[in-house]
Each structure stands twice: as structure tokens, then as C-alpha cells.
Symmetry: C2
Subunit: 461 residues, 2 copies
Amino acid sequence: VNKVKELDGIFKAKSIAVVGASTNPEKTGHIIMKNIIDGGFKGQIYPINPKGSEILGWGCYSSLIDVPIDKIDLVIIVVPAKFVAGVLEDAAKKQATCAVIISGGFREAGNDDLEASVVETAKKYGIRFIGPNCQGVTYTPNNLCAAWPLMKAKGNMAIISQSGTVGAAFAGWAEEDNLGLSSFIGLGNKSDIDEIDLIKYFSLDNSTSVIGIYLEGVDDGQTFMEVSRNVVCKKPIVVIRPGRTKKGSIAAQSHTKSIAGDYKIFDAACKQVGILKADTVYELYDFSKTLSLCKVPKGSRCLIITSSGGSGILATDIAERNGVDILNLKEETKTALSDILPPYCIIGNPLDLTGDTNAERYYEVVKKLKNVDYIDILLLIFGDPIPNTADFAKRMKNEISHEIVACYIGGGDIQDKEVLNLHETGIPVFPTPERAMRAISALIKYKNFLQKYNLKLEVKK
Amino acid sequence: VNKVKELDGIFKAKSIAVVGASTNPEKTGHIIMKNIIDGGFKGQIYPINPKGSEILGWGCYSSLIDVPIDKIDLVIIVVPAKFVAGVLEDAAKKQATCAVIISGGFREAGNDDLEASVVETAKKYGIRFIGPNCQGVTYTPNNLCAAWPLMKAKGNMAIISQSGTVGAAFAGWAEEDNLGLSSFIGLGNKSDIDEIDLIKYFSLDNSTSVIGIYLEGVDDGQTFMEVSRNVVCKKPIVVIRPGRTKKGSIAAQSHTKSIAGDYKIFDAACKQVGILKADTVYELYDFSKTLSLCKVPKGSRCLIITSSGGSGILATDIAERNGVDILNLKEETKTALSDILPPYCIIGNPLDLTGDTNAERYYEVVKKLKNVDYIDILLLIFGDPIPNTADFAKRMKNEISHEIVACYIGGGDIQDKEVLNLHETGIPVFPTPERAMRAISALIKYKNFLQKYNLKLEVKK
């Protein structure tokens, strides 16, 4: 736990130095400064550059040593590789306990010596660090964005990524969806802080309810699995690990010098400890999003309510192949529904409200299902532009206990607006029936794991 | 061929009547009128409604009979089911040879009699029709949008769909991508014109270079396959057919009364006649888009050029599983590339230009590959915001003969802009490495089919 506390120097930092800050808008040292400022960081910022006098309104210092305070919490490093160890020496003099080394040019470029000397120096002074060769750190509860792209939308998903781009894509989708993140960590070469440290940290972080991870290699598989096993009882972990094919594995080794593992063993271990495996970057995001918004359902029984017959069939196919039970409506339920629906609706599962439906018809149907105890999850598919879906969905959420996942497709401008509104009510929305149903299947896989070990967990909403 | 020519009454119509046009903006009869007008239709429009005097600026008539011309080319019908046969009688008096019956309430609602009487009346007067119970027809070469949503962006993909929503989603994505459509057809109950008629029509249509189809059931499987076999030699056909699982098939039967077929036989037949099968609605669109923009490559050998190592690995995994050959670079090529690249780039396949690359570096690399004859397809992955990719891609297209597909991911606002620019240069772009590589695999499947039968085809660009 002490080792976990050490990372507060990163996540709860009140003062930050950016070594290698720059006035040139194209340089990483500028982008990082700008994002820290634009991210709304409330503490002190000290740009360090021997050439500058002021950067983006903050007074610039020639070196860390010149900063006129005794203690700097966090040092962000963007200078060339060969200077990094020296910067850590200075950081130690300023009592810094944490650093983020964005600079590349280490092991990944064949400079193992440089990396070893950085590791040694950090260890000598008790400095914990992320990187090197990484895309930085964002932690929205502290309004800290020492990374790119700029991420400031607050949410409760944390993304830990060995690929900066995959992490940035995840963050971008979360921002577009108006859901935001708690944290983004570019792992880089992870020569000190690794996924295991971060899983532990986020397991105790109240702002994080789900942990998404892109991982090319795991150095200590056994500890990774042991730690994960404990954490998934508190909050779900979603992992994507590429490099499964022969050539993919060669590529992974070239990229981050990751050791190709046996994927069958890795998959089996994930299943056993309750880690959710994603097959694509969309799934990494979709599963994390669903698990961050929905409670764990009691069972696997799903009713599809749709305005688009075709989309309902597409969703059904995916359900059948992925362990989601497309339940049969009982006669009493059918009768109750036929009382309130026009005769041309198809009362089955999918329940096809047909193309002329409005949002209220979904609401009337869901209200009728209030006391139907053999349904666990509702998939609402809104096909074509249907206004006010979020208004009625909000009322549904207040009146029923079933979990709700939605798909909105073919709805043009109205869709764009409604998706954001639906997210605000806490319902995850997906742009295709396939993505929505795969997300439901992840929710059910997680439920199955918890039930197997008799764990009772409600994911924080 | 005569039967094909008959459909010119729909696609080349110079005068249109909308029976059931409405002044109420919420009614389908209004939306259709508005979309015909907003779509830029250049011919005469005759709204028919006993109550109106003018609708959206066009003089309204009580019935088709009152329209003061002798011949109306196309009659769009939006009145309740029980009036449709009567409207067809009037249409015959106005020498109409084609109709689009948008109205529902026929076979799909249990009213088989009504549908039979419509079919009989149409046959009696030699009127060909689309529908009933459909989402209309769009044909952009004639600026005709008698459907919803409004589609006016001109492109060369035709989408034929038994699900209005899936068709609308396809059209929406094409519009967002700035690629547009040649045509959208909502098939509905297809009690006259069906997918076979339309495949024949579009095979001869110079504005269409690829045909996408969403199909729940095929009434005449043998003819469908025979016709498709002939057409795929001229232009590719992409099909999605849901209802593959037991419950999915039950849902398909409820939706459009489609007869569940044997999917194994259907899949085998598709493979044999060269129809490309899509597994998801994204793939239906992605495959169509790629085949509409790219030429058929000579071989299956792909080089991935990326700024994001992780995305390159993800793409490699998909390639290996889907028949795309991730080629090995020859030593001479490696040497040539190392001459122009910074030492930290990883010269392999994927070729990792690393995170600091700009668009010009991609161009310099591709220029070096100009005379490398063991590469058929380039996948360019742009990870994070990289400006001016389209400018350099345009130069690449002029200088090399390899096919180019792109992925743009994690690039924020710059990505949004560049994707549109890249589409303008004729390069298909996808938001994830997985979607991009699956699209390449479809291109290669099509090539394999053509090569197997020694067909030489270049898809029109």
C-alpha cells in the first residue's frame, strides 16, 4: 500500500515542473505546457528551459535548481534522452518523488544504457516515474493533463496504454461521447511504474470505476493476474493485447520490446481471474464505457425493443453467439403489451415497435415491463431520427430496475444530439446493433464471473 | 433487358406525383415532398391530397386524375394501405409505368389480401413498383430523393436494403464521409421489384460501381446467384444477411416474412459466385466504400506504414487471420529506407515511422517504394493529429501504382478534416486499424475471385 501511496506524487501533485518546456508550438515541450494550462491545473507550474524567460504566461527557469521553492511534487521531462538522468538528479534536490519521462530515444531505440542509467538514478533518489518514451499522464480529478491530446472531460474510466495512439483514441471517443475519463496513462517503456502499480492505484481511486488497458507485453504475468484477481472484485478490468498472430507478435516485439507470451495461457488466465478481454480497440472502449455506466445485471436475459426490425435481427444474431439470452416473452406479458401497442407492432423478442414509433411508445412499453422479473437487460434500439428519447429514458431509469443499453442508428442530426443526452442519463449508446450487443455480452461475462465466486458487486454509477 | 429498361420510369423520372403529400411536417407524406424538393429534383412535382391547395410551393391536386398532364412518370404512394390499389388504377390512367409504395399495413401486418390486390392491379396495368412498406428511393444522378433521410451527396455506391434503418445508416455514413451514394432503395415487402431486378439495373448503371445489399430473405436463390455471378464480373456486390442464428432467424421471419434459408448453403453459394459477405453493418459499408474507391490489386501483399506502433500490430493481427499477406521487406528495400529515415524508426512490416512523424515522411517513404514490385497494397496508419496527410497522399497517388487504404485514429479535429480530404483523393479511410484491415481483406477476396476465373477487371474509380 505504501508503494501505491507513492504515486500520489503524480496524481495529487500541487506543483509541476516541465523540463524542456518550449515556446515553439510544434514542440512536445510546448504542447505539454499548454495542455497542463488548458486542462485547468490549479497548482504552480514551472517551465524549465535555459533559453526562455516566460512560456505561456508562466515564468521560465534555466534549471530545476533555480526554481524558488524547496519542493516540487512532479517533474515532467521532455528533454533529449541523454539529459534525463541529470534532470532526475536535480529533481531529487527539489525533493520531487515522482516524474513522467515523455522523452524517447531509450531502449526502444537501442539505447539500453541510457535507460539503465535513468532507472539507476531514479532508484538512488527514490523517484518513481512513468515512461520513458510515453505520451504522458492525465488525471482529471486534479485537472491535470500532462499529455496529449488535451483531455479535460471528467469521467470514471481510466485508460492505461502502451500505445499512445490507442489511448488517445480512447480518450477522444470518451470526449465525443461526453463521458470523459478519470485518467489516461501512456505507459511507454514502463521501466519503473507499470500496469500492476497502476491497477493497484486505480483500484483505490474513488474517481475510477473501470480500468481499460492496452498491453503488448506483461513482464510479470503471475503478479499481474494475482493483483487483477483482487481488483476485479471491486471494479472491472478490460484488456486488449495485440500480437496474437505470428507476424503480430514479431511486430509487438519490435515496438516495445515486449516478450511474446503464450496467448492461450494469457487468455485462460484472464478468464480465470475475471479480466474482460477485448478483441478490438472499439471493444476496449465499448466494454469500459458500459461497465462504467451500468450496474451488474442479475441474469443474462435480454429483451430487445426496437423501431428497426433489421437492427433487432442483427443484435439477436450477436446475442446468440455471445452468451446473451434472448428471452421468450410470456403470454401474460404479450397480452399486456398488445393492450397498449398498435396492431402492426410485432410482439416478440425483438419487440418491434416499427418505424412510426416515437420515444413515448418505448416508455409506455418499458413501464408495462416494470414488474416483469424475468428480464435483466433492455436493449433499446432507436432506428432513424427519433426525438426526445433521452427525456423518456430518464423516466424509465427512475421507474424500473432493469439495466438499459441503447443503440442509435440512422438518425442523422437528431441522433447526434440524443446520444449525448442519453449518456447524460447514464445509458451507454452505440452506433450499431453489433457493438451494443457485444457490450451487453461483456456486462454478462462480468456478471458470470462475480456470480461464480459469489461476489456481490454493484459497479458505481 | 426490357424488364430492366422498365425501371427507368423510377430512376429517370421527369415527373413525379406524391399521393398522400401533406402539409404536416411530421407526416411521411410531407417529409417525402420536402426531400424531393430539397434533393434538387429538376422535373415536375405533383402533390396529391384532397384537402390541400399548395404544399411546399407546389400546386396540390385532389387526385391523380386532376393533374393537368397526360403522362406522369413516377407515382410515390403514401396513403393508407386500403387506398393503394385505387391509386394504382388512377396512375394507370395517367400512363404511369412505375410506382414506389411507401405505405405499410400489408403482408407485414397480416393483411395479405390488400397486398395481393395491389400486386394484381399493378400487373393488370403493367405498373412496376417498389415496396410496399418501404423507405423509398433515392437516385442522385437524377437528383431524386423520394425517401428519408435526405440524401443528396453524389457517389457511386448503391445500397439496396430490406431494412430502412440499415440503408439510412449506410447513407448517413456515406454523407459524413463526403462520398455519397448513387442510389438507396428501401426494398420493403418487395412484392414486385426485388433485389434481382435491382442488381440487374445497377449492373448497367454507369453511376454505380458497387452494390451493397441488406437482405433478410431471398425468394429465388438460384436466380439471385446466377444474376450475381454475371454482375460481379462487372462490379462487386457486398451482402449482409442477418438471421443466421436460431433466434435471429425467427426474428427475420417475423420482420419481413422472409423464409429462413440454410446459411451454410447461402454462404457457400456467395463464395462461389463472388459475392462478398459482410458480418456487420460497418462491414457492409466499409467493404462497399473500399471497392468503390480502390482498383483491384494484383496480389495480396500489404505493407503497413504507421506512426503508431500499437495500431500497426492490431492491423497485423487482423491481416494474418484474413488472408492478407504481411510481406517481408527485402534487404535492399530496408537499406533504401534506412537512408532516408531517422535511426529510431523501425524498418520492418509494420514500418513504424514513430510518433514524431509528419505527413512528408510518409510521402518520402512511399516515393522510395515506387519501383518495389513485391508490394500490392499500402495501409497508411496516421495515429495522433498529423496535418496535410491528404496533400502528400495526393502526390503519392500520382506517383505510384500500389493501392492505398488508410486508417486515421486518435487525431481529434485534424483527423476530422484530413479524413474528408483523403476521401477526396480517392483513398478510403477508417477510424480503427481493425476496420481498415478488414476492408483490405475484402478487396483481396474480390481479387482472388476474379483471378480464379481469369477475369480482368478494374473497378471504376
